[in-house]
Amino acid sequence: MHNADFTRNVAKALNDAPQRAHLEHVITNFMRGRRGLFNDDEELAALREAANAVKRRVVGRLAEVLERLEASCAANGIQVHWAETGEEASNIVLDITRSVGGKTLVKSKSMVTEEIHLNKTLEANGCEIRETDLGEFIIQLIGQTPFHIIAPALHVTKEQVGAIFAEKIGIDYTEDPDRLQAEARRFLRERFRRADVGVTGVNFAVAETGTICVVENEGNARMCASVPRVHVAVTGLEKIVDRLADLPLMLRMLVGSATGQRISTYFNMVGGPRRPGDQDGPEQVHLVLLDNGRSRMAGDEELRQSLQCLRCGACLNHCPVFKRIGGHAYAATYPGPVGTMVMPQLKGLDEYGYMALASSLCGACGEVCPVMVPIPSIIRRLRVEAHDAHGAVLDHGHDAARMESLAWSLWAKVMTSPGLNAMARKTMAALGGALPAVGPLGAWTSVRVRPKFSSKGLADLLREEDAKEKGSK
């Protein structure tokens, strides 16, 4: 997408007053929740330092951590698959499904399966894959993508839910949320019971023990991982912790940053398929490790920090840009600051370069990140990559803004030459009001008065004041 399309999306989102009011209400609650839990600044700083160390240890030595994870999983009877691209990962899930003669899948909320467009691949190959997280279920019925990484149906009203349920699952129209929820429960219970394969994401995979951990509140992820005969967990290859002992801290940081809960309703730790004598649980457990650009990110010391991300969504909730435009305007799997940071890295600057401009670099995202990812610095770095011919990001150096390069080199000349600098000010002071309001000035003056340039600079005023002082002495 190009910046012009983004601008159109932005205009549409900004004009949607009800959505903006609702979004503000929701993220304000998320922020309040987080603050309520992490209410001691010193304590929070220490927790973030510790969580940062856990993740930096992992993303700095991913090869050995992944090999250890693979070995631990194998010892537990979990089959590990490696995928270089989203397409490969989706095909692995398809092949597993076919290998057991399956056709129906149930899936719990997972951003990585959005990233690889898993549903599209499976549906194109004759499978039925049902989203089971209530929010995901709703947007799957409507045919949309998640609005927020932890609140996918944030933008949908109860009336819209009622209408889509009436249309797609055949209930009488109601806008009573309790009844709607009960209908979803009834409808999906049958799907859990009959599905061939359950798909989940992964919040933490533990290298030491080969444990797949999933955080959730609804119980659908436990259903997906416990009821069908096959459980497939799909994860970005960075979502690993070294040790089981790392989990308590990381769990608190993830859940607390996301919703302000001390712990999610469920924290499910899958350590393998059913054993002899077990009465339930999947007969097969698979773990799909997805690269899809992550190994490239790991190669650069600064960009590597993007892989520390826990996908908690706190950066979205605190972002003044996300607050104004919401999740869909970005037209990207991951919206908000985390998306701004990772989309151009995963998919390239040609396609997602516009996202790097959608930040005022105010620093709110970096301030709340539970693992201290310096999101603003990485966004700034992407702006460098946009025109850097030797860059580390896909499609670097392709920025068409040659005019901007020229403008900055001219700026550097002016700013290193006091004579030019003062002349520029005087010229602007003389001409300021007469300049046509186009380009940047047009953008500025759409909601602000023109900057008023001063005919005298600071040095002029200082000289005058000192002369006056001397004169009076």
Binding site: A53, A63, I138, R222, A245, P248, L251, D278, G281, E301
Partner: protein, 218 residues
């Protein structure tokens, strides 16, 4: 595609960081003992809309019967070979008002055929209750399988007071968890919940609509 593993690992080996930080040996949540520990556990579990009832072992039967009666529940799945199953069986009145169900290990698919359509409530033991998180820890077993605490609309977790630990971190150490790897473990802090319709919290989506913790004196 078979080369994916080698290709990815080769790139990651080349990408290894020159330095990685040491672990920061930090995070020891509160470590209360005795009554304070119990109070903290109760406070955190109640905050997530869990009903916590403190009972003597001799009161378990009557307490559970009252709970079920108030909710018009007419059956309860329990494992007869657990401590709480034994107490319940001994204390359960034979009036037929509420049937005690037993997971039939010989049935071809008890989970799909009976648990889903019929079970209204279950009672399970727990591995521990972690106070800082405010969650019960379950390590499912053949007699108390994974779905027993998930599918029935009412889940009662029987916790002996001595099973309360200060935190998950201490549970990981106490059970030598990294060595004794269960093939499934789950922490449960309350009833199933969702905020997905207009972002208002509602209880009871896919899992139990209600979680009751029976805190049983040792």
């Amino acid at each position: 595609m078979s080369n994916a593993r080698e290709n990815i690992l080769a790139r990651l080996r080349a990408a290894r960081a020159e330095r990685v930080p040491d672990y920061i040996p930090r995070w020891s949540p509160a470590h209360p003992e005795g009554d304070e520990l119990v109070a903290l556990a109760v406070k955190h579990m109640e905050a997530t809309r869990t009903l916590v009832l403190r009972v003597a072992p001799s009161e378990i039967g009557a307490t559970v019967r009252d709970l079920l009666r108030q909710r018009s529940v007419t059956n309860l799945l329990r494992a007869p070979d657990t401590w709480v199953g034994e107490l319940l069986d001994a204390q359960w009145p034979g009036d037929g008002e509420c049937e005690l169900l037993t997971w039939d290990h010989a049935a071809p698919d008890y989970c799909r055929d009976v648990l889903f359509p019929e079970a209204q409530a279950s009672i399970t033991t727990v591995k521990a209750l972690v106070a800082d998180e405010g969650a019960v820890v379950l390590w499912p077993t053949p007699s108390e399988p994974r779905t027993m605490s998930l599918v029935p609309p009412l889940h009662i977790a029987a916790v002996r007071v001595g099973q309360i630990l200060p935190s998950l971190a201490e549970a990981v150490a106490a059970f030598d968890w990294a060595v004794n790897r269960p093939n499934n473990a789950v922490l449960i802090s309350g009833p199933s919940r969702s905020g997905d319709i207009e972002n208002t919290l509602r209880i009871g989506v896919h899992g139990p609509m209600e979680l009751v913790v029976l805190l049983v004196d040792d």
